[in-house]
Symmetry: C2
Subunit: 401 residues, 2 copies
Amino acid sequence: METWAQLAIPKGFRAAGITCGIKESGKKDMAFIVSDHPCTAAGTFTLNRVAAAPVQWDRALVPKNDMRGIVVNSGNANAATGQKGLDNATRMASLAAREIDCRADQVLVASTGVIGHQLPMDKIATGVDMAAKALTSEVDGFRDASHAIMTTDTVPKVAGTTIRTADGEIVHLLGICKGAAMIGPRMATMLAFLVTDARIPENLLQEALSEAVDVSFNCISVEGHASTNDTVLILANGQAMARPLHGSDLGMFRQALRDVCETLARMIPGDGEGATHRITIDVEGCMNRDEAMAIARAVADSPLVKTAIHGADPNWGRIVSAAGYAGVDFHESELCLKLNGFPLYHKGTPIDFDAAAVSKNIRDNRETHIQLIFYRGGTHVRFWTCDLTAEYVHLNADYTT
Amino acid sequence: METWAQLAIPKGFRAAGITCGIKESGKKDMAFIVSDHPCTAAGTFTLNRVAAAPVQWDRALVPKNDMRGIVVNSGNANAATGQKGLDNATRMASLAAREIDCRADQVLVASTGVIGHQLPMDKIATGVDMAAKALTSEVDGFRDASHAIMTTDTVPKVAGTTIRTADGEIVHLLGICKGAAMIGPRMATMLAFLVTDARIPENLLQEALSEAVDVSFNCISVEGHASTNDTVLILANGQAMARPLHGSDLGMFRQALRDVCETLARMIPGDGEGATHRITIDVEGCMNRDEAMAIARAVADSPLVKTAIHGADPNWGRIVSAAGYAGVDFHESELCLKLNGFPLYHKGTPIDFDAAAVSKNIRDNRETHIQLIFYRGGTHVRFWTCDLTAEYVHLNADYTT
């Protein structure tokens, strides 16, 4: 999934990813992303009532128009850590701010890893110092940052695009994200950081980000457990252009942001812990987005659906029964189901099908496609998840100890 | 869990459990429970919008005052089977009614097993005939019935009690149930059948049953997937007494029904597919039952909590973060957590604890106790679930094929 060769770093941004010893494995555990010029910034965050300290710090700041950077550690979530955790998040921002000569409230903070442990502040202090020294505008900086935010991810996740405005200016957009479990977002998910050299006021940036997150990071799950640390942040430093984005350029930017967020979001269930299949769920013909999302989530989060796909078992009753308990008052005669294109259930009645052929089709493809077609209205949502495997259980039965 | 020696069969009931070939394994797959006298009957059913054909049949009938019996098959759920499925459920009631000389609408029907296949009606017809011939008021009849309703259950599930009325009459109450997966009840769960020789009008019986189900079968989950077939039925034939239950006798009966339902309900996560721990979740100090239940369910259904318990991993952040996404607007400073009696989190702040000792305690006990103590109000709910193991995945990745 690393396609760094095709990616350009937005102008005026530098990044780094280094090892400061928070992870016992010795892998990279601190990332720093800096803009040399003040940025507009926007963010979306977990709705979990037990929100991590860095989420509380960031939430109070964005949207904002003079942001300078984002400092991130992995290996420790700084969540459920009380007042001391908040103090530590503030201190982490201060340390980073000192390195780039700005105020603490011009730096956003993120953490990911185990919940309920205080940050090792000596390592954080050393790490911020090391990361500041390693900052580079070369591709290497963002590549290292994408590694430094990983926890149980098996691959780093990056996406980017370039757009050309009506005036011929070239705008770059680059994003990195992490996540492989505790994925069941409500309003935002896991960690994702986007940078662009577009010039865009913070309120329009927030609107564009919220809209993009809604159809991307909010449409994925691994096991449905919403994290305490979910954070999506974007910095826009305006270095690609003189005047703010407007008119059709603004529309093009919003579309580009949606595309990059969707590309990043899909990588998360694609790298779901222990997963052997990525599952795309299309819920079509619903009365509104709320009911389509409720059905998509119920199907995506059902362990029985997820294990059936893992076993290449066309046990479609599990899919329609999951839709049935989503809390939407449909009648079964309004529902049809296709699995990898094979029609299995039509308006409440089973269809004869070749179970061996469907099973082989599921087994032979890493991508699985579930289509639930309702006859209720015109709303369609697309949702991504992954299967549930014994490997997921092994990975999670023994994570902190 | 079979304690038949201590159980008495309510007067005037007969039962049977036989093999008619619906299950390929050759195990028992049809149960028949009959009262020789008309009964009052009550029931609670799944809220799944894809409700099985037998659920639709029963739901239209109860509460009712002239019911005669219940006929049940395992190995096929008769769910998502369209009009033909409804016709088959009706036919199953008719076949049973003919055997005991009553009308079809005096017989309740239940099915459990794979979804989306039509019932093999030739086998059902043979089975009803065989079951009718095997009916007996001896303990053997109910014991066989408790086996005949099993699917992936590893043990049959039975509970009963006896109460003595103010007039010295002896009332018997006996229940059997099944369930090991697709357990995430809303209003009722899986199959449970209760019989009593108490005399009680159908509306009072329905009230007593609904109340009992609310604190028993509605407080359990295995993986949170609500079945299409959840059904709890009770028949009361009045053979123990001349006048209907009233006053303190009625209160005693309601309590007895709650106790038997709770005993049966707890057996289901205790026999959860692949489970190595039964988990009791106490959510205390909430403002109302709705918020306490939402938190209990979120914790119970989190695969991350379930795998942590399986791994004897005191990774308590997963528990408080699951509470945090339950949709209840608590503040983390209102929350304390104990795990098997060990205090781990107090009013939003982590407590130092001996992780090795807590891990050993979880590993050494099949029963795990999670206590979430809020400082919000006076409501307490108790909920039961089980851990998530690789064995659950193996069992469910390969069930129909």
